[in-house]
Symmetry: C2
Subunit: 271 residues, 2 copies
């Protein structure tokens, strides 16, 4: 599928885009596809760790806002999408062994197991959609790059073997726009909600704003302040650190596109 | 009434406190009285200017969130309080002639006229109540002084002869607390809503943060940022500038205590 064809996926429904992914016709970052539908971060882990991971998500609702959890071994997840087959309906997956990403695949049918539990977690695309709708400039989108993400000195609340630093994403704004961005994102707790910090990066233990641990650095103009949101990469970093013998996550940027409308998660609490 | 007796007014209803004011037993700043009830800024002006002033409030809902407007000559205002007599039920009034405050009185019965229209406008006490409820420190309250207020370089939207700079109030917070304060106040548009600015005072044309035009300067600690909200002194400054032959406002800090509950204005739009 070429970039012109991909750009036309904006106006498709979530189900239409998932159908293209399922048949292998589409493998690309999903930002901007199926406009208005909630996209989700993915964590697929063995049942023996699922209760602790669920507790971790509930204890850390800002980085890990829970949209849905599957039954063990069931590739469906009706809470977030009708007729979903989680083994084929996301275009990129990362397979982890002992906490290390060992492979990137576009289909996990051959590694699927009867004990796997799928967690779908909210993603910043929903609030970015609201910011853009409100006319606010979102720097990494204007730059055509990934959002910069940083490991912080803020510890998540540990549960079982799941622990580690909060990862944040950063978007710079002028103060009046930052206030609007804070208010708009606050209305979407299931998409990470309001930011956790703004201003001095050292205030949350970020060593160098020009060197994000994930994604791409973006310029911060005169009169702008960096604003930091809890980020959906946090659970992936926590999964790596936990060193589970086997786990699957989405390839960052290649999200699960759900049937949930952005409007449906407005004002809905996480956790 | 001594300070001990005044402190006991926190748990009284709005109607009980207004009754004490009406009989002349109470003349004191009303912050903290009738806990949970909305307090209001007051502007009382001749009918010939009322349509323009109403238009001004609607064009500037952040500094002038409209709670209620009376019929000309009617000292009642059932939209905000039952059995209200606006001539006696506020403990301090300022009388303006040609835009100049000429007298401070505790009763305006003797200057009342059949053409006077009362405007009740929301006040920051409601969102400060929410901040304190949420455990956030509010500096000027902790310091036992008035909130610092500043004239800005931001122009209000003019209507008729009503125009002038936005006046803001300032409360310093650490960034994470500032984010919570922004989100909490955003839920109360009728109490000025979310801030208009944070950080560099020069960004909104404030010359010297240590020299507020109204109220008292407060310390800003290391790691804190000043956060600026649209302020209910704006309409009073606008009234002065408009130079109406006759107008009445409340004595700042001596507010109209309404029967509206803070909870009732949560999420209610202004303007």
């Amino acid at each position: 599928m070429n970039s012109f064809e991909i750009s036309r996926l904006r106006t498709k429904s979530a189900a239409e885009v998932r159908a293209l992914i399922r048949t292998g016709e589409l493998d690309a970052p999903t930002a901007g596809m199926a406009d208005g539908f909630v996209q989700a971060n993915l964590a697929i882990i063995p049942k023996e760790f699922a209760a602790d991971f669920l507790a971790f998500c509930k204890a850390n609702p800002k980085p890990c806002p829970l949209l849905g959890v599957s039954e063990p071994g069931d590739p469906a997840l009706p809470a977030v999408a009708k007729d979903l087959d989680i083994r084929t309906d996301v275009c990129g997956y990362k397979i982890f062994k002992d906490g290390v990403a060992v492979e990137r695949v576009s289909d996990i049918s051959r590694v699927w197991r009867g004990d796997l539990v799928t967690f779908a977690l909210g993603c910043s695309f929903s609030f970015e959609h609201a910011l853009i709708d409100a006319g606010l400039p979102v720097r990494h989108i204007d730059c055509g790059c990934n959002v910069p993400m940083y490991k912080t000195g803020i510890a998540t609340t540990p549960r079982g073997r799941f622990a580690g630093p909060l990862v944040v994403s950063m978007r710079p704004f002028k103060p009046a726009d930052a206030i609007r961005a804070i208010c708009l994102s606050d209305r979407m707790p299931l998409a990470h909600g309001a930011p956790v910090h703004f201003g001095d990066p050292a205030g949350i233990g970020i060593r160098d704003i020009a060197q994000p641990e994930y994604g791409d650095a973006v310029p911060i103009e005169d009169g702008e302040v960096p604003v930091f949101w809890a980020c959906g990469v946090t659970p992936q970093a926590v999964l790596e650190k936990a060193g589970l013998p086997f786990a699957i996550a989405h390839d960052p940027g290649h999200m699960l596109i759900t049937d949930i409308r952005n409007a449906e998660i407005m004002g809905v609490a996480a956790g």
